[in-house]
Symmetry: C2
Subunit: 464 residues, 2 copies
């Protein structure tokens, strides 16, 4: 099964009215709400405040930073008309909001006492896509965009690392997606940024997926937009800026990392129903069935009391045992309890985890609850370890560019790389691959393409 | 002080980069997040699920319902270009999403078992405004738009009333805004609706403000978009549809209903900081000041434990006592505690409510906490009662249209009204006022304009 079919079957989306748009349906949006809630809490711990800033702004504003407009020009939607009226000023729909935040900062920033200024918005953005794909690349997607100002470079960079940590922890410990964190190359960094960090995963098909980014702008945008504050000595000073985001693409990452041939596999934290209780009834309604129902309700009550989202299938649907199994496997319900005559007699619980359907287990009622936390941790660990193992199998070290040219690009290639724009452009032209992330080492080696000396290693490969 | 200044001073917004747009800044967005959280909880109790649907869709789709496109034509933003590419299909930015939801329903609705289908989204919408005003009328605003399908007219109408109740309770009991609920007239109802209910308040300046609406569409849209389900007899059947929304305009309602010359007055539920603890220190740092600090911290701890959001001013800012008072009055902090030497000695708490700054009161530490809930209820009651009283003073009964013509339109005029489009068009032309809401009575009387017999009474007046 491919990823899109898995999402479609689980009703995470439906195709939208225009090419490149999707309806994010209740099951899909539920995952996004959970992502939002988790991260929003973390951002707030750092003192970040939420806002809502205009999605429409003058084209001329976007054009104020040359690299920035060059980067976004091919993707932006422009508006020249409303109703029957031609607009004087051509407007754009935000592809990102650095310039909008700068125009706000310019108005409100007064003194060093206003710093750091830590803002964020959870909004929709638009970027035209030639080859749209549900959740991966859409004309419109949802994301968070944080925009902050700081007193100096050190404080701004420190803040970038705090956000990187939040994203990394969230991706690895909550979504259970193993990620690599590194710099973006000179060619691949964000249009207008001094430094961009990417958090990327290697998917089972060997392609990279960028899940979040953090940008450090230095004083670049602030200077162009005349953003200034009075420092302690009452001198006009330019602040240092960052921005950072994670999008609905994280849903694609979550699904692609864990799904199997039957459908989705969701971690407990992101499942609408975490536990399905499936009673195995006798064909005829009888006293035995009543006992099964009561036992299941007891289980349900106890689980709900422990804050789990539980779905209990009622007797009227007893014929559809295999349908309910299948359905819960399609939507990725993490755990299923199967309760029949025997379980009631023994006072036991038979259960199976979605990621390991072959391993059915049985515990006494009390043991089941005593061990629950451990079982839950174990599921998380197994999911993460499995993904890490698959990811590591997809990494190949490459020294020789001639060899690289001939290889099928269905892997992540670890190389020494000079991080020169010209060199990467040549690689891109010859192989249609670019660097995904870079990291600085203590050693010196030769760039796999131009042979110049470098301290940087990098991943090259295909990406979504 | 006028409403806009009150909002601006309290930093609820800043003017945006294009005429008619605003930055909703942290203080303003905080109120919106609280509105969202409250209502979202209520919607979910009814089984409503959240989604995110495309903001861009073909113009031709909007044009499929004639009344609908006629209603929205002057206000919509159209997009014909992306990057350097001319789009084949002209797109619109959603002014509302009835047609988008219909195109989704058409795809996914199969059987009577899928009904009711209860969806909602919290999103941005765009409508061009000639005379924009912060929070009242903006080119872009935030709202909830619920869209539901039902088996038959009865069920759809019942659902409308459930939503009306949620909105009414929220507005009256949480935002403490007295509202009138009634029908929209034939002229004023939503483009494409069979029936529209409005929830309106009369503001202290005598103008109406519409705070939320609920629409019943019957089968109108569903028929145009070929939305069908198989009923129990396996026959293709058209469902009955509703939609409903409340927007960031509610922030304007909240502010305008309660604010005074000093600034905002916020109910506890919508204040960022609910209680300001203001220590009154001696000029010199001494042991007495330490005692004051400790006593304040004790108060703070106890209040935080009771889930209140508390702000405690620390000793280093002791010189700015009146600044802090003023500041908390501008942003509308509901309650202020003033703690000096005497309070520490007596073990008492001196406090004052924002809506009644002249009435300073003192209670013993324990009494303060024992009576807190009662004090809080009393504040809510006083705010609501005051607003109701002011509102009632603004209502005037009118029988004679000649007299109505001559009156200053700074009131809400209660009239008998025929609810005929032609009659209302004439009234609109002659007086620049329209009906705001209607309600059916058991009596029969003559329309104040055309003298035709009618059972309907209505409010006429100016509106924001």
């Amino acid at each position: 099964m491919n990823f899109i079919k898995a999402c479609y079957q689980a009703k995470l989306f439906e195709y939208g009215p225009t090419k490149g748009t999707i309806f994010i349906t209740p099951n899909g949006f539920d995952i996004w709400q959970k992502i939002q809630k988790n991260l929003d809490y973390e951002f707030k711990q750092l003192g970040v405040e939420n806002v809502y800033f205009p999605s429409l702004f003058p084209y001329s504003m976007l054009a104020q930073e040359e690299e920035h407009i060059d980067g976004f020009k091919p993707e932006i939607f422009t508006i020249e008309q409303t109703g029957n009226k031609k607009l004087n000023d051509k407007l754009v729909l935000r592809p990102t909001s650095e310039v909008v935040f700068c125009s706000y900062f310019q108005k409100v920033l007064k003194s060093y006492r206003d710093l750091p200024l830590l803002l964020n918005q959870w909004v929709n953005v638009w970027r035209y896509e030639q080859n749209p794909n549900p959740f991966l690349r859409n004309m419109e997607f949802l994301w968070n965009e944080g925009h902050t100002l700081h007193l100096n470079e050190t404080k701004a960079t420190e803040f970038c690392h705090k956000i990187l940590n939040i994203y990394r922890n969230f991706l690895q410990k909550k979504l259970l997606i193993p990620v690599f964190v590194g710099y973006k190359s000179e060619l691949e960094k964000f249009a207008g940024a001094e430094k961009t960090w990417g958090l990327e995963t290697i998917l089972p098909d060997g392609q990279f997926l960028q899940l979040a980014t953090v940008h450090y702008f230095g004083q670049n945008f602030a200077e162009k937009f005349d953003v200034k504050f009075l420092n302690k000595e009452n001198k006009g000073t330019t602040p240092y800026q960052t921005s950072w985001g994670i999008s609905t693409r994280a849903i694609a990452g979550l699904v692609q990392t864990h799904f199997d041939n039957k459908g989705l596999i969701l971690p407990f934290l992101f499942a609408k129903y975490q536990i399905l209780i499936l009673p195995i009834y006798m064909k005829k309604a009888n006293e035995q069935n009543l006992k099964i129902t009561n036992y299941c309700k007891l289980l349900q009550k106890r689980l709900v009391k422990n804050n789990f989202k539980v779905k209990l299938i009622s007797e009227q649907y007893k014929k559809n045992f295999s349908y309910h199994c299948l359905q819960s496997e399609i939507i990725g319900t993490p755990m299923r309890l199967e309760i029949g005559k025997q379980e009631v007699l023994d006072e036991t619980v038979t259960f199976v985890f979605r990621h390991n359907l072959k391993q059915k287990r049985k515990l006494s009622f009390e043991q089941f609850f005593t061990n629950f936390n451990q079982l839950y941790q174990q599921m998380n660990k197994e999911l993460y370890d499995k993904a890490t193992k698959i990811q590591n199998l997809k990494i190949e070290k490459i020294i020789n560019f001639e060899k690289y040219l001939k290889l099928n690009k269905n892997k992540a290639f670890e190389v020494w790389f000079c991080n020169k724009k010209e060199c990467e452009k040549q690689i891109k032209q010859l192989t249609k691959t670019v660097s995904r992330i870079l990291w600085k080492t203590n050693k010196i080696n030769k760039c796999f393409k131009c042979q110049k000396k470098t301290k940087y290693q990098a991943f090259f490969g295909r990406s979504y």
